[in-house]
Symmetry: C2
Subunit: 422 residues, 2 copies
Amino acid sequence: MLPAIGRRPILTVTARPGQRSETIRRANLSAIVRELHLRGPMSRSDLVEHTGLTRSGIRAVLNDLVSYDLAHEERATSQGAPGRPSPLVRPHAAGATVLALEIAVDSLAVALVGLGGEIVDSIRVDRSWGRFSLEETVADLVDLTRQVQARRGTHDALVGIGVSIVAIVRRSDGFVRLAPNLGWRDVALGERLREGLQTRLPISVANDADLGALAEQRRGAAIGANHVLYIAGEVGVGGGLIVDGHPLTGVAGYGGEVGHFPVNPAGGVCRCGSVGCWETEVGESALLVRAGRQADGGRAAVDAVLRDASAGSPVALNALSNVGRWLGVGLAGLVNVLNPELVVLGGLFGRIHPYAGDALRAELERLTLEASRELVRIVPATLGVDASLLGAAELAFEPLLSDPAAWAPGRALGERPAGASA
Amino acid sequence: MLPAIGRRPILTVTARPGQRSETIRRANLSAIVRELHLRGPMSRSDLVEHTGLTRSGIRAVLNDLVSYDLAHEERATSQGAPGRPSPLVRPHAAGATVLALEIAVDSLAVALVGLGGEIVDSIRVDRSWGRFSLEETVADLVDLTRQVQARRGTHDALVGIGVSIVAIVRRSDGFVRLAPNLGWRDVALGERLREGLQTRLPISVANDADLGALAEQRRGAAIGANHVLYIAGEVGVGGGLIVDGHPLTGVAGYGGEVGHFPVNPAGGVCRCGSVGCWETEVGESALLVRAGRQADGGRAAVDAVLRDASAGSPVALNALSNVGRWLGVGLAGLVNVLNPELVVLGGLFGRIHPYAGDALRAELERLTLEASRELVRIVPATLGVDASLLGAAELAFEPLLSDPAAWAPGRALGERPAGASA
């Protein structure tokens, strides 16, 4: 999966008299590695064209990247264009890999993701929801991680670990404040994972919807968009907001909790303790109950509802349309407040979009201001079930992308690189 | 009014070899003028300390500013500290003034504001609401402007015009998309004001709540805060959001329309055409009707309700508490989504805060996530009825603050300075 990214120019730095050349070297390494990671293989000529660096400048950067094992070059076959073919530069996936872990309400997943964003190996296991303690969860994740690592051997240079969780989480240390749908409150997930995995690698933990938004912006439906509202439904409902190209974090990093947006003063009690939250009207359970099924039927039950709908079942179609209507109510408020250009429907919402989209759009039409609505496109997410897992990988890659030179020397599997912060 | 601003460092630039000295001179002029405008008079010593420029560097900048008539220096009286007293530098209000215009639902206002932010003269006239066309409004504003200018004579150097309006407005040209409470839709306000005022000065038009937020951030309750939700009530309800220190504009500049945030699916029809908007539950009319008064009684009727409440009237107290509860419902959603550090209650909401605050806080407690809520402070605005007018002045000052050198030469009242864009 190596899609083209938007027309964002690469930011490189040329030397000013008196500026330290080492600073410039590292900034240019960072810019080129990020570009290869996000855009995939590029020819030397493309790199010259995109960066504004000279041919010799590019050559110096590439020499460093090859020596750090982060890229390799291939002789390009001529494309029929005149002149000597330009060598193709590829990110080297095994030269820098990350572990991405995901704690969803009804599944756990672990993936090894290489530089360039490709999943080199992964495992996902289903769990019944709300039944597992922190200790059981950490033990299961450690077990899955060992399985993936055992299958791959030791030839990947591991540079970090990213963790996605359906929770309100403090980013600085991965402390979980509240995970209503896991029944967790105030648990030191980051610390427990470090002990369980017995690693000194950096571990970054973030909210699943924030990571889904990051992944869709970098590699999915929101490439090139700067004002994005990503909403993802499963058992719970999460959101990730992108404002002027950057994630909206809020003062403490808890921004984007759209699931607990009050939409119905006459609504039901939410697992967060409040009343009439959006989640109580559009979450998986709300859909299943409206379709006459068990609230905790999970993904299989949702699949059954979608099958019924495609066969024309009025009960299933009504349930989906009802959820679409409530999706529209909540989205209307968010569109009026945020004036986004793009709404990306992730998880459950992407899957039900074919059946719920019309009701959603009708409600948006009724409840939003024309000016706020007129530039909005509403699209399903494109990364599917792995969006948050891919976002966790991006989170884990970030320190390497910001300063590849600090990460490259002396690496070994599971060993903390020189210059890396814990 | 010259309050201290937060501990934001002044950004000045020191020369790198090879960098053009004219670029640096202009950047430093901009940094120092902005500082004097926002902080008020400072000693030369303070400027040296805050900027990191040398004494001779500061002297060169101040010489320019004095020659541009933007600042003057006074010999400071000794404060008892040892050493020679440092001269005090003052922004020169008459050296650069702006016209600030405001179109509220039930009043019009015009002010002349000098560099440093002081209102040197102003007029506000009440109007009955929803009864005036664009043409009448422009004619009235032109008339008020002429009155203010006649009183001041011609000794102010006018550098721009800022306009606040209770509308969804396109900033690029001041085109009003929708002003539900004026009954306007798609009118070329910026263009008509230019014709009416017969000026070539830059005219900037923006939404009243966005400007209220700007003013409160620069000179009021939100100084030093980076994640701010400003909500202001009058007949309508507006919002201005500050995310990571910057205004949230959205893709087309219409961000922050919190008044049309659906809070009550069983609510009344809004003037925007939708149903159950926040405005229908917390706007001035909602308060007045709940207090047993005419919906269009205006500011005088609100004053009467507040008097009744202070005398212990149960009807008035219930009405205020009811509005407070609905304020809490809407704020809860916004706090969960935006995770702000500060909520500033402007206009009507600031005035009713003593009576509505408890109900608001109780509802916020009930409906928000603890993590999102725990760092939020809720405070009344401090700039009162003139917040949006002061914000309009800040908008008009912005080009001067960004590049004072481009604005200074050859100025005269009503004449476009050299180098200024229309």
